[in-house]
């Protein structure tokens, strides 16, 4: 299923072969779910393996990615931004131009094709910012399947346009008031729904988290980002980037960008977590920078938790990064040191949001604005012949109200 990218290695020392048969990336990942769900997880794993082995599956996926999603997404040389920053050349992988405005649709198409193969008749999903909910509602409308999206009540309030979008697309949006009413609680509710509707329902997880095989499967579907970018940059510059950089919430857009570059040691990979009000406050979403390993939502990974192992609330101006965990493959890449994980605050993301808008005429989502905040710091320290590749994974229309409020503008 992985199409070989130029210069990719898949040798014995490859970092791209994980997870193992138990769904582990080093000590992370796995299948920590209640017995009721275990047979379903195994069924999804089996169905995905069968689909990958079926020569008809990839062409079917490619068809929808090309004609419905609009792939390949362009690679854009951000020339004005590059001049303003005065250092390395900055390229944007423009996944915000995908249908529905973010990278989430890549995995939704793959998973709904799988759900159809499995004969499932109902789709459930969790969403934070609403981008995955919208993408899921979209593919459900496309294939005529009923869709229920769980969304924390806090997020329902701050992402109203996406809630309405999902409803227009025919999805039922369930506002979750259990726990802290955010993304982690939406995921708990989706898992509870799945346990209660095991025979007909497929759980379409939005990020590279959850029990095996989801972290692997979502990564595979999102790797189209890095595969394309690698080819496109090769065409534009004849070489690999020096740095590839992406924002991290659960980590799906970053995993999709990074995975095809894991075996290219010359490429520095940088994931940017949300530092919220600051890493030394209790209001951030930086699971790797400030968390420690634990088990939540079916996998072992870095989590924000207190000394008793109770899960702590994350905070970020970006609802899409507001998650106290991170995909297990990131935890592994962090521990082996292949990917550097840094953080950007709410304020830094807001500044980058405005910079991108004014210099490139692109309104980014607040999620990739975090990645851009780090590009802002990094590019000026690099020579003009160096290349930074950043995943612009979503567009900012959904965030306009949040940004206006933070800037003190009444709409």
């Amino acid at each position: 299923m992985d199409t070989p990218a130029p210069m990719a290695s898949t040798g014995a020392n490859s970092l791209r072969t994980g997870p193992d048969s138990r769904g582990k990336f080093g000590g992370f990942g796995g299948r920590f779910v209640a017995e009721t769900l275990m047979p379903l997880i195994l069924e999804v794993e089996q169905a995905y393996a069968t689909a990958k082995a079926d020569p008809a599956f990839q062409p079917e996926l490619d068809y929808y990615l090309k004609h419905y999603v609009g792939r390949p997404s362009p690679l854009w040389f951000a020339e004005r931004l590059t001049k303003v920053l005065g250092g390395a050349k900055v390229y944007f992988k423009r996944d915000e131009l995908n249908h529905t405005g973010a990278h989430k649709i890549n995995s939704c198409i793959g998973q709904i094709l799988l759900a159809r193969r499995m004969g499932k008749r109902r789709i459930i999903a969790e969403t934070g910012a609403g981008q995955h909910g919208v993408a899921t509602a979209t593919v459900c409308a496309l294939f005529g399947l009923p869709c229920t999206v769980y969304m924390g009540a806090t997020d329902v309030a701050r992402q109203a346009p996406n809630v309405f979008r999902m409803k227009l697309l025919g999805a039922e949006v369930k506002s979750v008031t259990s726990g802290a009413s955010t993304l982690k609680d939406a995921m708990n509710e989706a898992l509870r729904d799945w346990v209660a509707n095991v025979t007909d329902t497929y759980y379409l997880i939005g990020t590279v988290a959850g029990p095996h095989p989801y972290p692997m499967m979502v990564r595979d579907f999102q790797s189209v980002i890095g595969d394309e970018a690698k080819l496109q940059l090769h065409e534009a510059e004849g070489r690999l980037p020096d740095v590839a950089i992406a924002a991290i919430g659960g980590g799906s857009n970053a995993m999709g960008l990074f995975h095809p570059f894991l075996d290219d040691p010359s490429v520095r990979l940088i994931g940017v977590e949300a530092a919220g009000h600051g890493l030394d406050t209790h209001q951030h979403a930086a699971s790797l920078s400030r968390g420690r390993p634990g088990v939540l939502h079916g996998n072992r990974t870095y989590l924000l938790q207190d000394e008793d192992g109770q899960i702590e609330e994350a905070h970020s101006i970006s609802a899409g990064l507001d998650y106290p965990g991170i995909g297990p493959e990131h935890s592994w890449l962090h521990e082996i040191g292949r990917v550097e994980y840094v953080a950007a605050t709410d304020d830094e993301a807001l500044d980058a949001f405005q910079l991108c808008t004014r210099t490139e005429g692109i309104i980014p989502a607040l999620e990739p604005a975090h990645a851009l905040a780090h590009v802002k710091k990094l590019a000026p320290t690099m020579a003009a012949d160096k290349i930074i590749l950043m995943n612009l994974c979503g567009r900012g229309d959904k965030d306009v109200a949040t940004v206006a409020e933070r800037l003190g503008v009444k709409l």
Binding site: T36, P39, D308, G309
Partner: protein, 276 residues
């Protein structure tokens, strides 16, 4: 012989099934929780399951979720849950205690230290909801070394091919989750149980408890006729919750009302003569 095995053996000799009652540690506060725990055996509980509060109880319905929230607000943690068991053991060395919870607070405590401390406190068995047999190698050897039974959940989705794998390494009893769903929501029919339990029985010599959706004395009676024990959790917590004031604080009749409910369930279980 472990307390769990001894208790099931003596009940078998009496010719009746077991009532397993549930409480969430520190719900709604430490002393009420200890009073309920201490009162349960005399009210007719044969085994007691103590829920270990967790912020993200993914297999639990609203009733137990809210109980966990109350407990955490009151200051519950794993040390204090084990202290609760220690305090109970001062006056009762016979009633088996099973802890039911999620993996992360145990990992945070340290699996080895947890198994040692739990055994010392007087815990007899562990149900770790999100630790399926596929992952249980991280705990089974340590639990076994400390004489703790690992009680596995078997669900309606567990097919006969999978069953031996799920039961491998389990001891104490088998917890049959009678519905596909979360705690305290729907109830399995007598026909469902009649079809499901013999398949589990065929795969194990361990006693079988039925839980999830067992709410009334009649349902508890039906459960012990189909299997060996009935677990009642959400219904008891609803009784407790119904006595609390608007701030979630216990009232003078909280303990009595919960124990009265336990008595009614025990009457149901003891009135159900097991078919030979």
């Amino acid at each position: 012989m472990s307390r769990i095995a001894a208790r099931f053996a003596s009940l078998r000799a009496e010719g009746r099934g077991a009532l397993i009652t549930f409480l969430e540690a520190w719900d709604p506060d430490a002393s009420t929780s200890l009073d309920i725990l201490r009162g349960m055996p005399a009210a007719g509980a044969d085994l007691i399951e103590i829920g270990c509060p967790f912020t993200d109880p993914m297999a639990d319905g609203p009733t137990i979720q809210v109980a966990g929230k109350r407990a955490l607000k009151a200051g519950a943690n794993m040390h204090r849950t084990l202290a609760l068991v220690r305090d109970f053991r001062v006056g009762d060395n016979a009633t088996p205690i099973v802890l039911m919870g999620y993996l992360n607070p145990i990992l945070s405590y340290g699996v080895e230290k947890f198994c040692t401390d739990a055994a010392v406190a007087g815990v007899d068995g562990l149900i770790v909801v999100d630790l399926p047999s596929e992952e249980s190698d991280l705990m089974v050897p340590l639990a076994t070394a400390n004489g703790l039974d690992i009680i596995r959940l078997v669900a309606p989705t567990t097919d006969e091919a999978r069953l031996p794998k799920v039961l491998d390494g389990s001891s104490g009893f088998v917890y049959y989750v009678s519905i596909t769903g979360i705690t305290g929501t729907r109830t399995a029919s007598a026909e469902d149980l009649a079809a499901a339990i013999p398949k589990v029985r065929h795969a194990t010599d361990l006693p079988i408890a039925i839980g999830f959706g067992v709410r009334t004395p009649a349902q508890a009676a039906a459960a012990v006729q189909a299997a060996d024990a009935a677990v009642v959790a959400s219904a008891l917590i609803e009784t407790l919750a119904g006595t609390l004031d608007k701030d979630g604080h216990a009232q003078p009749d909280t303990v009595r009302r919960v124990l009265d409910h336990v008595r009614a369930l025990a009457d149901g279980v003891r009135g159900a003569r097991k078919a030979a």
